[in-house]
C-alpha cells in the first residue's frame, strides 16, 4: 500500500501532471495541478461542482487544451513533443494516436445511437486500432458478457436503461485495451436505483489492476474501490491520500466541509 500512497518511489508513474493551468477566457479553472498516478492505481477525484475535476480529466486526453504546465502519459507528453530542445505542438492525427491509448466513460454515456451495442464496442478497435473484425467481435462479446449484457448485443442504446447504457460504455472503453481508463462522473446521470450496477462493474475493474481515474460524487465508491482519493477545490488539489486518511480523517477545512454534507 505504501507504493500506492507514494508511487514515484517504486515505479515510473503512468500519468504525470505538472503545474497544469487551464482558463476559459479570464476564468481560471485549473490553477496548477500536480498529480502522479502509478500503473494499476485507482484514483478517485472528489470535489464540489466547479472545482475543476472534470476539466482536469478532460485535459488528460486533450479534449481540453491546457494553458500552462504539462501532462505526460507513459512518459509521452500529451499534445506536444520535445525535439532538439524545442517544444512542438502535435498534429491532429498525432493527438488522435495518443488518445487511442486511453478509454473514456462519459457522464451522459455518449453511446453511438445509430449503432447496436456490439457495433458501439467494436467501432474503435476496428477503426482506430486496426483489429480484425472477427477478433474485435470476439473480444467485444466477451466484454459485453463481463458487464452482464450478453442478451443485448444487438439492441440499440435507446432500448436500454441508463445503467445498461453506461455498462456498454464501460465495455466500449475497455475494448481499446486502454493504458488508463478515465471516468467522468459516470453515475451522475443515472437514477438512484441504477447507480449500484455501474459502481459494481467499476469495482470489479478496479480489482483487475486497471489504471483508473474516476471523477465522482460517490464517496462510498471512493472509500471501497480507490487506492487514493484526491480532493479538489477551486482549481487546486487541496488534499490527497488513502481513502481512510482523506475520508475518515480529513485535514483541510474545505475537505471537512465537503464531506460534512455527506454525513
Amino acid at each position: 500500500m505504501t507504493a500506492l500512497a507514494n508511487p514515484s518511489t517504486q515505479t515510473q508513474p503512468i500519468l504525470r501532471a505538472c503545474n497544469v493551468h487551464k482558463s476559459y477566457g479570464n476564468n481560471e479553472v485549473l490553477k496548477g495541478i500536480d498529480l502522479e498516478i502509478a500503473p494499476s492505481e485507482v484514483v478517485a477525484i472528489l470535489g464540489p461542482s466547479g472545482s475543476g475535476k472534470s476539466t482536469f480529466l478532460r485535459c488528460i486526453n486533450r479534449l481540453e487544451e491546457i494553458n500552462k504546465g504539462f501532462i505526460e502519459v507513459e512518459g509521452e507528453q500529451i499534445g506536444y513533443t520535445l525535439r532538439n530542445g524545442k517544444l512542438l505542438a502535435l498534429t491532429n492525427s498525432q493527438v488522435a494516436a495518443q488518445r487511442s491509448k486511453m478509454g473514456m466513460v462519459f457522464q451522459a454515456f455518449n453511446l453511438y445511437p445509430h449503432m447496436t451495442v456490439l457495433q458501439n464496442v467494436i467501432e474503435a478497435p476496428i477503426g482506430v486500432h486496426g483489429v480484425k473484425r472477427a477478433e474485435a467481435v470476439r473480444v467485444a462479446t466477451e466484454l459485453i458478457a463481463k458487464v452482464g449484457l450478453s442478451d443485448k448485443l444487438n439492441a440499440y442504446p435507446r432500448q436500454l436503461s441508463g445503467g445498461q447504457q453506461q455498462r456498454v460504455a464501460i465495455a466500449r472503453a475497455l475494448a481499446v485495451q486502454p493504458k488508463i481508463l478515465l471516468f467522468d462522473e459516470p453515475t451522475s446521470a443515472l437514477d438512484p436505483e441504477l447507480v449500484g450496477e455501474v459502481l459494481s462493474t467499476m469495482r470489479d475493474l478496479a480489482k483487475q489492476g486497471l489504471t483508473m481515474v474516476v471523477v465522482t460524487h460517490e464517496i462510498g465508491f471512493a472509500r471501497e474501490a480507490a487506492d487514493r482519493v484526491v480532493f479538489m477545490d477551486g482549481g487546486h488539489v487541496v488534499e490527497q491520500g488513502t481513502p481512510d486518511q482523506v475520508l475518515s480523517n480529513p485535514q483541510h477545512p474545505r475537505t471537512k466541509a465537503f464531506l460534512g454534507r455527506f454525513l
Binding site: G103, H114, R172
Partner: protein, 324 residues
C-alpha cells in the same frame, strides 16, 4: 333499457340481471366489450367530400378540352420519353454533383480555418442569392465573358486551353448551372444536419482516437442523415422541376419536348397534361424511395422501445479475481 347517451351501433348482449342492482352488471361494464358511438358528422363529411371528388374527377375525365385520347397517344411517344430521360439524367447528375460539392462546402463553413469558411460562405452566398435562370443563361453564354478557358499556373505559363464555345454545350451549361446551384442549397441542408448531431458524439469519437474525417463518416454523418434526408428529397423534387428551366438554353428536357410537339400540333393542354402526369409519376416514385431511406437512418430510434426488467444489477466479473 335506459336511454343511451350516444347512439349505439349494435348492442349484442342483453342485460341478464336487474340493471339497478349494485354490482350485478359488472361484467357488462367491462370496457373491453364497449361499442363506439357512430361518428355521424364524420360519415356525412366523408360522403360529401367523396361525392365532390368523384364528380370533379369524372368531369375532368369526360372534359374533351383535356384531350385525353391525345394524351394517351403521346404519353409513350419517342420525343416525350427522350425528354423524360434528359430530365431524369440532368436531375440525377446535378444532384449527385450537388451533394458531392455540398458536403465539403458544409464542412468548410463549419471549419475553424477562416479561408475555408470564407470561400464556402462566398459560394453559398452567390449561388443561393441569384436566380437559377440567370445562372443558366450566364453559363450558357460563358464564351461572351471568357472566350477561352485555360489551365495554367497562376501568373505563370498556360498548360492547356480550350475554346469556350467547344466546352460549353447546352448539356454542360445545364449540368454546371443546376449542380452549382444545388450544391449551395445542399451545403446548407448538410450543415444543418451536422449541427443537429449532439456535440458529445464528435467528442466521444475523438476521445477514442478517431481522426476527424473518420469520426464524421462513421459517427456524425450517419446521425445527421436523419435531418438531411427529408429536405434533400424536397430538393430533388424541386430539381426535377427546375430542370424545366433548361429549355431556355435549348436543352430538350421533358417540358421542352412536349412544347416542341404542341408547337407543331397546337394541342397545348393535352401535351402539358402528358408532362404533368410524368412529373407526378417521377415524384411519387421518389417519395417511396425517400421514405425507405428515412426508415433506414431511423434505426436505433424506433418508438417501439422494448421495456424490460432491469434484472441482476450485480455484474459477473469474478473470473479474474480468484487471487484476491
Amino acid at each position: 333499457m335506459t336511454d343511451a347517451p350516444h347512439a349505439i351501433a349494435s348492442p349484442v348482449t342483453a342485460p341478464t340481471a336487474a340493471p339497478h342492482r349494485n354490482g350485478s352488471d359488472d361484467a357488462l361494464r367491462d370496457v373491453a366489450g364497449a361499442h363506439l358511438p357512430i361518428p355521424k358528422t364524420k360519415v356525412l363529411l366523408w360522403l360529401v367530400v367523396l361525392l365532390f371528388s368523384c364528380d370533379f374527377l369524372f368531369g375532368v375525365s369526360q372534359n374533351p378540352n383535356f384531350g385525353w385520347p391525345v394524351v394517351a397517344d403521346y404519353f409513350f411517344s419517342r420525343t416525350v420519353l427522350d425528354g423524360l430521360i434528359v430530365t431524369m439524367s440532368l436531375a440525377v447528375v446535378s444532384m449527385i454533383i450537388g451533394v458531392a460539392l455540398g458536403l465539403p462546402i458544409a464542412i468548410g463553413r463549419m471549419s475553424s480555418d477562416p479561408l475555408a469558411r470564407g470561400l464556402s460562405g462566398a459560394f453559398v452566398w452567390f449561388f443561393r442569392g441569384t436566380p437559377l435562370l440567370v445562372q443558366l443563361i450566364l453559363w450558357y453564354n460563358l464564351s461572351i465573358l471568357f472566350p477561352q478557358i485555360s489551365l495554367s499556373i497562376p501568373f505563370g505559363p498556360t498548360l492547356a486551353a480550350w475554346n469556350s464555345n467547344d466546352v460549353i454545350t447546352p448539356l454542360t451549361a445545364a449540368i454546371i448551372g443546376l449542380a452549382l446551384n444545388e450544391a449551395a442549397y445542399m451545403a446548407e441542408i448538410i450543415r444543418g444536419g451536422l449541427l443537429s448531431v449532439e456535440r458529445g458524439q464528435m467528442e466521444t469519437a475523438e476521445a477514442f482516437g478517431m481522426k476527424r474525417m473518420r469520426a464524421l463518416r462513421r459517427i456524425v454523418i450517419p446521425q445527421a442523415m436523419r435531418t438531411i434526408v427529408p429536405p434533400t428529397g424536397n430538393q430533388f423534387i424541386s430539381m426535377i422541376k427546375a430542370t424545366s428551366l433548361v429549355s431556355v438554353i435549348a436543352m430538350a428536357d421533358l417540358l421542352y419536348s412536349v412544347q416542341s410537339i404542341y408547337n407543331r400540333t397546337f394541342e397545348v393542354i393535352p401535351m402539358l397534361m402528358v408532362a404533368v402526369l410524368w412529373y407526378l409519376f417521377i415524384t411519387s416514385v421518389l417519395s417511396v424511395f425517400q421514405s425507405m431511406i428515412e426508415r433506414y437512418y431511423a434505426r436505433g430510434d424506433q418508438q417501439r422501445v422494448v421495456f424490460e426488467k432491469v434484472e441482476t444489477p450485480a455484474v459477473t466479473v469474478e473470473t479474474k479475481e480468484a487471487t484476491q
